[in-house]
Assembly symmetry: C2
Homo-oligomer: 189 residues x 2
């Protein structure tokens, strides 16, 4: 039932050459990479999409509701409910970025913070790393800042409603669905 070898392969790929195709720093860089595999074969023009690291926060308020933001999203040409999220600035600690974005996007400060892991959005291309946090004891301390990409509104949902939306596939943004699963699990254990 299992074809795993006794000793797991640990041989990596060697990057032979790398060519910058697009530079839209700090938002995106796209490269072609030529790589040599352990068996000696070469893959050319293996596309690498470097997007900046970002944080995403599953926030439980003091009344136990979960904080979401709603905004227009160009990739899906529609509005979504998502967890507060944002880029990590250069030299910024991801936890500091999480506190900052939660305050900026949602006007929320939280008393307790936990880390739920870091995840690469595309294991071939990269497409950014997500740092996922659980924040508890959230309190509204400021008016949310809609940001520079149009109207963003804050919405608070009961945990059962969040679970229902997650189970039903209504949370179509992958980082949100990933972080909601981890957050609900952590709160339940």
């Amino acid at each position: 039932m299992d074809n795993a070898p006794d000793a797991l392969d640990t041989r990596g790929w060697e990057v032979i050459d790398r060519r910058l195709l697009v530079d839209r720093s700090p938002y995106a860089k796209v490269f072609d990479e030529d790589v040599r595999l352990p068996d000696g074969s070469v893959i050319t023009n293996f596309v690498r999409v470097e997007l900046p690291p970002f944080i995403i926060v599953f926030t439980q308020m003091v009344d136990s509701r979960i904080a979401f933001v709603r905004q227009y999203r160009q990739a899906i040409q529609g509005y979504t409910f998502e967890l507060p999220a944002g880029h990590v600035e250069p030299d910024e600690d991801p936890l500091d970025a999480a506190r900052r974005e939660l305050r900026e996007e949602a006007g929320i400060e939280a008393s307790d913070w936990g880390f739920l892991g870091k995840y690469v959005m595309d294991a071939n291309r990269q497409c950014g790393w997500a740092y996922v946090y659980l924040a508890q004891g959230g309190r509204q301390v400021a008016t949310p800042d809609p940001g520079d990409l149009g109207v963003m509104t804050l919405h608070l949902f009961d945990r059962d409603e969040v679970r229902r939306m997650w189970q039903n596939g209504e949370l179509v943004s992958a980082p949100t669905a990933l972080a909601v699963g981890l957050g609900l699990e952590k709160l339940a254990t």
Copy 2:
């Protein structure tokens, strides 16, 4: 506690212009888009990264173990445990792609299939849509095909071990962590 307006905004962005920057079809296309927001402001060079749709399958075998594959991943420069996954071919039904990839990558056929939703990997840039499936009644019917990107091996884990890896952040590939959360939830309900 909630700044949601009574009537939710439904106004979209208008794409004014779109310029192809990179064409590595069928693997990746990168565009600059100029978009006009509902308030009339214009954003230029909003990067869009079109990656092909893909499927990912949370597979429970007849002995109740969960199927993973292990392979080298260039984005993290190391080996990962991930759920079987792969691109949807043009004009291919995503469920057919899921059956095909599970058979090709893992040598497994499953008797029962359920859909756990579709998710955009990046709500700004796109970076591909993931179609997530739950397969049950999995049986090993063929030798796994390692594919053309090096050695891939099949590994079967007990559900408790899968939950532990997921909770601990060991499943660093975002589509896998997303699909594991949804799959475990579905099996528990």
